[in-house]
């Protein structure tokens, strides 16, 4: 029940924020902060309660029927991985509300409604243990995000919001198709028609079928992650969104893709995943290098940061398909570290934009003199982005690469080139914005107390993650092992013949319509 509350608090908070927005600009902000803090407190309570118990299965498992006709239930569960990502969600949520404090003056009520509803959708994604419910939340977060971009975004916002929505919707529908197909395959072989994740685990199916179904899931997750060449929505969406939107996009929305891979793709389709692994790793490497290359070429600061996300997320998919604990732990850390560091960079861009009303790096330069504190934080975040040891991203990338090295030396070496590339573009940010000669004489103020608090909290968490990552690693460990377990089993079976009945798609269970179905198969 407490898990449902996590989501409901956000939903209710959002509604409340919207309503109160009519009367005051302050109320929605306060309500959002309260709702998010409340959730964070709940999470801490859950975490502490769990630490005492310390078992390896789901910490809390909540399940009620929703649409029993189709075996759909409101099944929420939390484990270490969900815990970490939820905590991240609330943290990034708080940051997003805080950074919007001065940036958003118009329609604050509706703005915070959208923020909280996106966050509740994301929380739902991280908690759902029913595939239908998962998809439900997966889609639910799109609409408010779409509003966020299309209402509060920059010049080209409409185009970006369409692109974002259509891309994710299209890929999501493919996943939906796979979910339903999985539902039938499981139902036909066991007689239990259900969307429940735990029951669907271990569904046996022919390798080709599994691969096709997995592709559906991958479509959604790879687009969300995003993996080159499905990344086109990202630079536009990130660039055009308001700062809070970019932070949530980069910090959380992308993570749902990674989460999906770990939680759903690997355990549901272990064999197909093993087959796909080399391709996945290649995609990862391409993403790392191509994203970095594009980042380097940009003159729009925000777009640059957006492309760095593409590059960093390449590490995620690389690590996931390395199939070992080290790399997977690296992926978990990367999800958090990237959320913090890239979120921080977007915040920086937002802060700059508030002051000088441009994102064009060619018009910046020499800002250090005016805004030394901002410059210092900027350097720290740029360093995080290039993977400087001591900050969270390094732990992430090191673990991923160390793990990947065990799987493929070539891929690791290519990915390592990404480290150099990251250095190049990160330093370019610092140089173009803060150092060098001033192109224009701006008269701007340094970070305010509120902004300092935001930046400091991000710096501290990044350093914490970089120096004491063990807590995160320990928390995620059972989930990581769970996800890898199925892969291990598959590998140990040494890709022998699948034990299950090979159910070809057109195979008919209803004897009634057999002939008709046969015809259809022939036709299509």
């Amino acid at each position: 029940m407490i898990l449902l509350f996590l989501i409901l608090i956000l939903l209710a908070g959002g509604a409340l924020a919207w309503i109160t927005g009519k009367w005051s600009d302050l109320l929605p902000r306060v309500i959002s902060l309260v709702a998010l803090s409340l959730d964070l407190i709940l999470l801490i309570a859950i975490y502490n309660g769990q630490s005492a118990a310390g078992n390896n299965s789901w910490w809390i498992d909540y399940r009620v029927d929703w649409i029993p006709t189709f075996g759909i239930s409101l099944h929420l569960a939390i484990d270490g991985l969900s815990m970490l990502l939820l905590a991240l969600t609330m943290f990034i949520g708080l940051v997003s509300v805080l950074i919007s404090w001065k940036e958003i003056h118009e329609k604050t009520g509706f703005f915070h409604f959208n923020i909280l509803w996106i966050l509740s959708g994301i929380s739902g994604v991280f908690l759902s243990m029913d595939l239908f419910l998962f998809y439900f939340f997966w889609e639910l977060m799109l609409v408010p995000m779409y509003f966020l971009i299309s209402i509060w975004g920059h010049e080209n916002r409409i185009y970006a919001s369409y692109k974002f929505f259509i891309y994710t919707q299209a890929s999501g529908l493919l996943m939906f198709l796979s979910i339903i197909a999985l539902y039938f395959i499981h139902g036909r072989s066991t007689g239990i028609y259900t969307f429940d994740y735990i029951q669907l685990l271990g569904t046996t199916m022919a390798p080709t079928v599994a691969f096709i179904l997995m592709s559906g899931f991958l479509a959604a997750f790879l687009v969300k992650l995003p993996v080159v060449p499905f990344h086109n929505w990202l630079p536009d969406a990130h660039t055009e969104a308001p700062t809070a939107g970019s932070v949530i996009l980069a910090g959380l929305l992308l993570k749902t893709g990674a989460y999906g891979l770990i939680r759903f793709v690997l355990p549901l389709f272990p064999e197909a995943s093993v087959t796909f692994a080399p391709a996945g790793m290649i995609l990862g490497v391409i993403g790392i290098l191509y994203g970095a290359k594009l980042a380097f070429a940009q003159t729009d600061l925000k777009r640059l940061v957006a492309y760095t996300s593409v590059s960093h997320m390449g590490f995620v998919i690389l690590g996931v398909y390395a199939f070992n604990e080290i790399a997977m732990q690296g992926v978990v850390v990367q999800m958090i570290a990237h959320a913090l560091s890239t979120g921080a960079l977007f915040i920086l861009v937002g802060q700059l934009y508030e002051r000088i009303h441009t994102r064009d790096m060619d018009r910046m330069g020499g800002l250090w003199k005016q805004v030394p504190v901002m410059g210092a934080t900027g350097i720290i975040f740029a360093m995080a982005s290039l993977g400087l040891p001591g900050l969270g991203n390094f732990i992430a990338e090191f673990l991923i690469l160390a793990g990947t090295f065990q799987a493929s030396i070539l891929m690791t070496c290519l990915a390592c080139a990404g480290l150099v590339a990251a250095t190049i573009y990160s330093l370019r940010i610092v140089q173009k914005v803060f150092l060098g000669k001033e192109k224009t004489t701006w008269n701007i103020s340094d970070l305010s107390v509120r902004e300092k608090i935001i930046s400091a909290s991000l710096v501290i968490t990044l350093v914490y993650l970089g120096m004491l990552p063990q807590q995160v690693i320990d928390t995620a460990k059972p989930s990581v092992l769970k996800s890898l377990n199925s892969i291990e089993q598959t590998r140990s079976q040494n890709t022998g013949k699948p034990t299950g009945e090979a159910s070809i798609w057109c195979d008919e269970i209803n004897t009634d319509g057999a002939s008709a179905k046969y015809l259809k198969c022939k036709l299509w």
């Binding site: 086109n232 990552p469 063990q470 690693i473």
Partner: protein, 625 residues
């Protein structure tokens, strides 16, 4: 002792934190107290630690301070742990001691700079990172320090950020060293994959247990680590960043780009010497790279106009000597030269800093001259440093350290006549270019007039360093002269002795040759640069000289081979060609929309026709036509 060890590291960190958080609001006179003070305390603690280390019951012992578990997952473990042994003691001594002196020097040097607290916070961070680097008990922590010093180097080279050229130099330094670092981290992966640990001690044990000498894995591992070392220590082919790095303030050049950070590669190789011993081919490569670099850089140093650039090339060249020593298996000799070099090179840079300051930011040596009379203090200290660098026999420390290397280059197991020849040629070049500087800057006609004189905060550190540049050599005397082996004896707990192979020619003969060469270099410098300025001028304007001056054209080659293609690639695909597919889909949809719109023309007859066609269509399908 573990507590002291931890404190040595913590104080500079504390200094950095205080200065970076409150730096803007602290009163100006407090800043040096924090900045230099933290380094001073570290230096003091280091001396205390050093004394107790030397006097402890087991001098070859090891002190380990484990602070906390850093990472532990899937068999990969790493701790935040400091490990002190003889090798790291030498390094932390140099880092904190010289570091402290340079901090003191900076108190005056940077006094009028607007980034006063920023400077000290960076410097403190550097000292902290460097200490971590040399004290790390596992390679991952070492890598943390390794990258940390890289960052500080970047920040400090670009310290005067308004000048775009400084920013360029800073980025160049960071990126090129990062290339080496990337090789190094791959090396870490390789080591972990096969030896299942990153703890340096265990790694070395496992390596000897698991790997045959000359096995390909050992070779690869050593080669990859060497990559890191080459980048950091500015050796061929990654040497191009160091001369540009002189864009930073002079104390930075002294501390980071001469005394400490650039020798991190030397430290790394010495630290993982087991690995290099297991990979003789790589070790030989180290020697060859060292030899080539020292020659290459020697020629470049000879032709520089910029005082600091000349010293920078000299640094590259001297590190080449250290690599040569390591490569031939004279581990301790390499470290010895590192220590001595730290003293005299720091001194030279500090002196150069003073010269540049008093001449109002004049870098060009040909606009200097006759400074001997104007700033005698600087002249004498510079002269001592130069003498040490030129290995003036008997009285300077440089003589003892370099002589040792030259001797081993011939006689050690991995050595040989060719390596020796390179070394001795280099020695000649060294004394030539060093005294070229001395004669041009301090003798001859007066160039630019000095506008001010250095204060005591700048002079005292130079004097101390000058003293060390003279006497530091006496702790290790060659077999032929006194045979004192304090240093190598001290090192023997960590580093193996030299395997000798070729001792047929007496050592004394080599020393004699080296002495002659060194003196000949000085004489030649005297002849050309003081007596025959016309000749010097002709040399300066020769093409070959310009070629050397540009660092043998490496920059241009790299520019054409790497930088330009990458920039070109970035430019042509700035808008991401994959977006074409989206546009294409959108266009197709629009085209269809336009075409279909033609059918919706509102004309009834048209619609009726549509209906009729529809019937034909339906009939044809249903009737199987």
């Amino acid at each position: 002792m573990t507590a002291i060890l931890a404190l040595i590291v913590i104080f500079p960190l504390l200094g950095f934190l205080i200065l970076s958080v409150f730096g803007g609001r602290l009163p100006r006179h407090i800043i040096p107290w924090i900045g230099a003070g933290s380094a001073g305390i570290s230096a003091l603690l280091t001396i205390i630690l050093g004394i107790s280390f030397l006097t402890s019951s087991s001098p070859g012992g090891v002190v380990v301070a484990t602070l906390w578990q850093w990472i532990n997952t899937g068999g990969l473990t790493a701790s935040i742990a400091l490990r002190l042994d003889a090798l790291s003691l030498v390094f932390i001594f140099v880092i904190t001691f010289i570091g402290f002196l340079i901090h003191v020097y900076s108190v005056e040097f940077m006094a009028d700079d607007e980034g006063y607290s920023r400077f000290f916070s960076y410097m403190n961070l550097f000292v902290f990172s460097m200490l971590i680097l040399v004290l790390a008990d596992n390679l991952l922590l070492l890598y943390l320090g390794w990258e940390g010093v890289g960052l500080c180097s970047y920040l400090l080279i670009g310290f005067w950020y308004r000048e775009p050229a400084n920013g360029y130099a800073a980025r160049k330094a960071f990126i090129i060293t990062r290339i080496g670092d990337t090789a190094m981290i791959i090396g870490l992966f390789l080591l972990f994959l096969h030896l299942h640990t990153l703890n340096i001690n265990e790694l070395m044990q496992q390596a000897t247990l698991n790997w045959e000498p000359g096995s390909s894995l050992a070779t690869w591992a050593a080669l990859l680590l060497l990559g890191g070392a080459l980048g950091k220590s500015a050796q061929l082919p990654l040497q191009t960043w160091l001369p540009d790095a002189m864009a930073g303030p002079s104390p930075v050049s002294a501390l980071i780009h001469a005394a400490t950070m650039v020798t991190a590669g030397v430290y790394l190789i010495a630290r993982t010497h087991v690995l290099f011993s297991l990979a003789p081919a790589v070790q030989a490569t180290v020697a060859v790279i060292g030899a080539l670099t020292l020659l290459l850089a020697g020629f470049s140093a000879l032709t520089q106009h910029d005082l600091k650039r000349a010293l920078a090339y000299s640094t590259v060249s001297q590190i080449g000597y250290m690599f040569l020593a390591l490569g031939v298996g004279a581990w301790s000799a390499g470290i010895f030269h590192f220590m001595v070099h730290a003293f005299f090179k720091a001194l030279l840079f500090l002196a150069a800093g003073v010269i540049i300051v008093v001449l109002n930011e004049e870098h060009d040596i040909f606009k200097m001259g006759g400074l001997r009379k104007k700033i005698p203090g600087v002249f004498w200290t510079f002269l001592i440093g130069a003498a040490s660098l030129a290995a003036l026999p008997l009285v300077t420390a440089g003589f003892y350290s370099k002589d040792q290397i030259l001797w081993y280059a011939w006689s050690a197991g991995n050595g040989g006549p060719w390596l020796w020849l390179a070394g001795i040629t280099g020695a000649f070049l060294t004394s030539l270019y060093t005294f070229r500087l001395v004669f041009i800057v301090f003798f001859g006609k007066t160039g630019t007039e000095p506008t001010k004189l250095p204060g005591r905060f700048m002079v005292i550190p130079m004097v101390i360093l000058a003293a060390f540049s003279l006497v530091a050599g006496f702790i290790e005397l060659p077999h032929s002269m006194g045979h004192l082996q304090l240093f190598s004896g001290f090192m023997s707990a960590v580093l193996p002795g030299v395997v000798m192979a070729n001792e047929t020619i007496p050592e004394l003969l080599f020393q004699a040759v080296a002495t002659v060469i060194s003196l000949a270099g000085i004489c030649l410098a005297y002849l050309i640069y003081l007596k025959r300025p016309a000749l010097a001028d002709a040399i300066n304007h020769s093409r070959i000289s310009r070629f050397f001056c540009d660092g043998w054209g490496f920059d241009r080659v790299y520019d054409t081979l790497f930088v330009k293609p990458i920039v070109w690639l970035a430019e042509i695909d700035k808008n991401d060609f994959t977006d074409i597919f989206n546009t294409a889909i959108a266009s197709v949809v629009i085209i269809f929309n336009r075409a279909l719109n033609l059918t919706q023309n509102g004309k009834l007859r048209w619609y009726v026709m549509g209906l009729a066609l529809g019937i034909v269509f339906i009939l044809s399908i249903l009737m199987n036509l």
